[in-house]
């Protein structure tokens, strides 16, 4: 007997599968990647901006109003219609909070259906082809599929690399390593002080 959790997961899979199929049907892998990126940007904006959230919250907003408002915003932002439609339905059903789960399900479906993994890579400097090849080889070796890199350059980052794929994040940034070194130094110092005391 399905529980609420199973029903919710099934709904999330339906949304993710519908979006993936629609994007793939209307533009192949390029559309899939573009739609995924746009979906990701909207999701992050929704999570970090309360004013945007407020547009779809409140008892005075009917489902139809929420849907029309979302589609209007997406249209102005030039988001692909497939993504806009899915987000409109989520707004209509007041299920925008499920966006992160749908995103993860989308990535899983992408991996299972197309044997392709999207790897989010964040670095301080842009990757060159040699590095891209190394990262793709690593993903293929670890996960057994094709890798598509979604690159982000963060100039505030000290160095190193942060990679996310298959719901796993590998943080090999210099920032994190320095923080770990700082913590280790302080911990060692504390132990030395306590040993002296």
């Amino acid at each position: 007997m399905p529980t609420n959790r199973h029903i919710a997961k099934a709904e999330v899979d339906v949304y993710a599968g519908t979006l993936l199929d629609a994007l793939n049907n209307n533009g192949g892998m390029d559309a899939v990647l573009e739609g995924r990126e746009q979906y990701h940007d909207v999701m992050m904006f929704y999570i970090s901006h309360d004013a945007f959230k407020a547009l779809f919250q409140g008892a005075d907003k009917t489902p139809d109003m929420r849907k029309k408002r979302m589609e209007e915003v997406m249209s102005n932002a030039h988001v692909r219609p497939e993504v806009s439609t899915i987000l409109g339905v989520l707004a209509e059903k007041d299920s925008l909070a499920a966006m992160p789960r749908i995103y993860r399900a989308f990535n899983s479906l992408l991996a299972s259906k197309f044997n392709t993994y999207i790897v989010d890579v964040t670095t301080r400097v842009p990757l060159d082809d040699h590095l891209r090849e190394i990262i793709k080889n690593k993903v293929s070796a670890d996960l057994g599929g094709n890798a598509i890199l979604y690159e982000t350059v963060d100039p505030h980052m000290l160095g190193g690399i942060i990679m996310s794929a298959n719901d796993k994040r590998i943080d090999a940034s210099l920032d994190t390593m320095l923080n770990q070194a700082r913590s280790a130094l302080k911990k060692t110092n504390d132990m030395e002080v306590n040993a002296r005391g």
């Binding site: 993994y117 670095t123 301080r124 400097v125 990757l127 060159d128 040699h130 590095l131 190394i134 990262i135 690593k138 993903v139 670890d142 996960l143 000290l158 160095g159 190193g160 690399i161 990679m163 794929a165 298959n166 719901d167 796993k168 590998i170 090999a172 210099l174 320095l178 923080n179 070194a181 700082r182 130094l185 302080k186 110092n189 504390d190 030395e192 002080v193 306590n194 002296r196 005391g197």
Partner: protein, 204 residues
């Protein structure tokens, strides 16, 4: 009363002398004027002896009747007075001795009690002094111990803070150096090394 008896005795004597002088004036003059010679000189003169004897007897009777009882009474009373006085003196002496003994006893008791009080006070004082000294020593030791602990803790905090600062400064310096000194190619070499050393993407 004794004074009254003496007065009566004196009155009796005066009466007797007056009778002998006023009753037999001729014998008195006769005695002054006689001039015997020979044996008659040492023999009693009957003319003088009889009146004198009579006068003596009269005097003796008067004295025996009136003087002696008064005198005896005075003597008796005097004796009683003296006896009573002696008795009272004895009683007073005994009372005094008793009071003195009591006083000495009380004095001794008081001295003993005072000595005990002094000894007790001394003992209490010694105990109190020892207690206060011990308490003061204990408190001072605790204060020193706490002060040492506080100093040690402060020292430890200072060292921790200093070493924490050293760690922060070291990492900040490293950050600055990395931020400023590394070229893009050096960054890429670091990325390459880290990708090769990174863990697997397998969720398990």
């Amino acid at each position: 009363m004794e004074h009254k008896n003496n007065k009566a005795l004196f009155g009796t004597g005066m009466i007797s002398a007056a009778i002998s002088t006023l009753g037999f004036p001729a014998f008195a003059f006769a005695a002054g004027e006689s001039s015997s010679t020979g044996i008659a000189t040492i023999l009693p003169n009957v003319e003088e002896t009889v009146p004198m004897l009579i006068a003596f007897i009269l005097l003796w009777i008067i004295l025996a009747k009136y003087g002696w009882p008064a005198f005896s009474n005075v003597i008796k009373k005097r004796n009683e007075t003296i006896t009573n006085s002696l008795k009272q003196a004895e009683e007073s002496r005994q009372e005094s001795e008793r009071v003195l003994a009591e006083y000495k006893k009380e004095l001794a008791d008081a001295r003993s009690e005072a000595a005990e009080i002094v000894a007790e006070a001394k003992k209490t004082g010694e105990a109190t002094r020892a207690q206060i000294t011990a308490q003061a020593q204990k408190e001072s030791e605790e204060m020193i111990k706490k002060a040492k602990a506080a100093i040690e803790q402060e020292k430890r905090n200072a060292i921790e803070e200093l070493q924490g600062s050293v760690a922060d400064i070291s990492c900040d310096v490293a950050s600055k150096l990395i931020d400023q000194d590394l070229s893009d190619d050096e960054h890429r070499k670091i990325i390459e090394r880290y990708v090769k050393e990174a863990g697997s993407f397998h969720a398990n």
